[in-house]
């Protein structure tokens, strides 16, 4: 039996039997990813909107920076977060290294530039269209940004999904700051890395298949939600 067939069988078996370890790892993966992407949206959407709407010195530089940060190497982000959270680093006393929180922080840093850059690009287009109307209504800057964000919400969905994709499949940064501790900070991707280094390629690939299945499910679910929402709240 070749590795590929075996991988499919393994993944199938793990999913069917709801393997306890698998469930634990999947749940942590989902929780870390969703929290990181929520945080990245909380930070990135206002920031992206501000960069689209406000003109201030250094604005263009920031745009270029965020566009570039979309390609931040995860390992570098992991190292920086490691050094900051390290026991004798600046945030050492918080005791966050090797916890899910550390992984959330690292992934938030990786995802935020994606949210900022994409949302800015989407909102710039709408801002052009709404500009004179909103200004003639004497809307404050907060009002303007709020209106643009809300009215772009369906286009921003894809942005959020891009962020989810990056966070969910990321391994370099979470490995360093989470430590891949069994039952505590082990997630799908680090488990895959571990099984690869153990030479259990079938299991690693099986987990990879499950990761893919989950990713597809999340995207399908999000797409379904978006379509229903759009229908019920014409935009």
């Amino acid at each position: 039996m070749n590795t590929l067939t075996e991988a499919f069988l393994q993944s199938f078996q793990l999913m069917i039997t709801l393997d306890e370890t698998l469930v634990e790892v999947v749940l942590l993966s989902l929780s870390v990813t969703f929290k990181a992407v929520s945080l990245a949206c909380l930070i990135g959407l206002p920031l992206g909107t501000a960069l689209a709407v406000l003109k201030f010195p250094g604005q263009k530089t920031l745009v270029v920076l965020f566009n570039s940060f979309m390609g931040l190497p995860p390992v570098v982000v992991g190292l920086v977060v490691y050094l900051i959270l390290s026991a004798n680093g600046p945030l050492g006393p918080l005791g966050l290294l090797y916890t899910p929180t550390a992984m959330i922080i690292a992934q938030t840093i990786l995802v935020t530039p994606i949210i900022v850059a994409h949302s800015r690009q989407i909102i710039v287009l709408l801002a052009e269209e709404y500009d004179e109307t909103l200004r003639s209504m004497q809307a404050s800057r907060m009002d303007i940004m709020g209106t643009l964000l809300w009215d772009s919400r369906f286009s921003l969905f894809t942005t959020v999904l891009a962020g989810l994709g990056r966070a969910f499949s990321e391994v370099g940064a979470v490995m360093i700051v989470g430590g891949n501790i069994n039952h505590f900070t082990r997630i799908m991707t680090t488990a895959i890395a571990l099984q690869t280094s153990r030479g259990d390629l079938a299991l690693a690939l099986g987990l990879g298949i499950i990761l893919l299945v989950l990713t597809i499910s999340i995207n399908a679910l999000a797409y379904g939600l978006k379509t229903t929402w759009e229908k019920h709240s014409y935009a």
Binding site: E129, E132, T133, S136, M137, Q138, A139, S140, D143, Y234
Partner: protein, 249 residues
């Protein structure tokens, strides 16, 4: 909105101050080589409906945008009577409704105008009635017909209770029925003591609504007169031929 520069009116005579809603003094606006506004100086009366006429490309829209502060003149000043400060609104030639329902558009505008959430529903009902939009509340604003969209824009403008409304050809490209509906809204608004400045090149509409008329051609003011005088005894050959339906080029 960038504030229109509100200068002290002391520079002007007492009478002019009291009678004016807007004073434009020597406005110049140029883009490239093209002089779009050249030396526009005009006093717009404080009450009634002031109509601005002129052929396409005369600079009417640019003038309205300059008055409300969306454009900055290269030189000159727009002086707004302090009574109107912060209470201005602009109805655009082409309405930009936001991507929400009719109800949503009004709710949004009331929010920006600072109307508390609790009071918005009843205000929206009033506005819907004024605009004759009953039954369309939950329709996507952008799926409305041209006339309905323009009416929605007009009542949306009213949601901030402005004291001065600039209207940029609100019924251009609308059929007679829709034009009539728009004019009814204009009249009822004017009856509530709201100052209106209406740009139109519909001569009939100007006759029906205007208290005074200003004629602009190629960025210059050619004539400003009370409505009867303007239509009965135009003082420039351009206005005369315009009123007679000749093509001004």
């Amino acid at each position: 909105m960038p504030k229109a520069k509100i200068l002290d009116l002391n520079d002007f005579s007492e009478q002019r101050k009291q009678q004016a809603s807007i004073i434009c003094s020597s406005l110049f606006f140029q883009r490239g080589k093209k002089k779009i506004l050249s030396n526009i100086s005009i006093t717009i009366p404080k009450t009634g409906i002031s109509v601005i006429m002129g052929p396409n490309g005369a600079g009417k829209s640019v003038l309205l945008r300059t008055i409300i502060g969306l454009l900055k003149p290269d030189s000159g000043h727009v002086i707004l009577n302090p009574e109107f400060a912060g209470k201005t609104a602009l109805v655009f030639q082409r309405p930009v409704l936001i991507r929400r329902t009719v109800y949503g558009n009004l709710h949004h505008a009331l929010g920006i105008a600072g109307v508390p959430r609790r009071q918005r529903k009843s205000r929206i009902e009033e506005l819907i009635a004024i605009g004759g939009l009953a039954g369309l509340e939950n329709h996507p604003a952008r799926s409305l017909s041209g006339g309905e969209q323009q009416r929605l824009q007009m009542v949306r403008t009213l949601s901030s209770n402005p004291k001065l409304i600039l209207l940029d050809e609100p019924s251009a490209s609308l059929d007679p029925q829709s034009t009539h509906a728009i004019e009814e809204i204009i009249k009822s608004t004017s009856d509530k003591n709201v100052k209106l400045v209406l740009v139109t090149h519909d001569i009939g509409q100007a006759k029906r609504l205007a208290d005074d008329v200003t004629f602009i051609h190629k960025g210059k003011i050619l004539e400003q007169n009370s409505s009867p005088d303007y239509f009965n005894s135009p003082s420039t050959p351009e206005v005369k031929s315009y009123l007679e339906g000749d093509l001004l080029v």
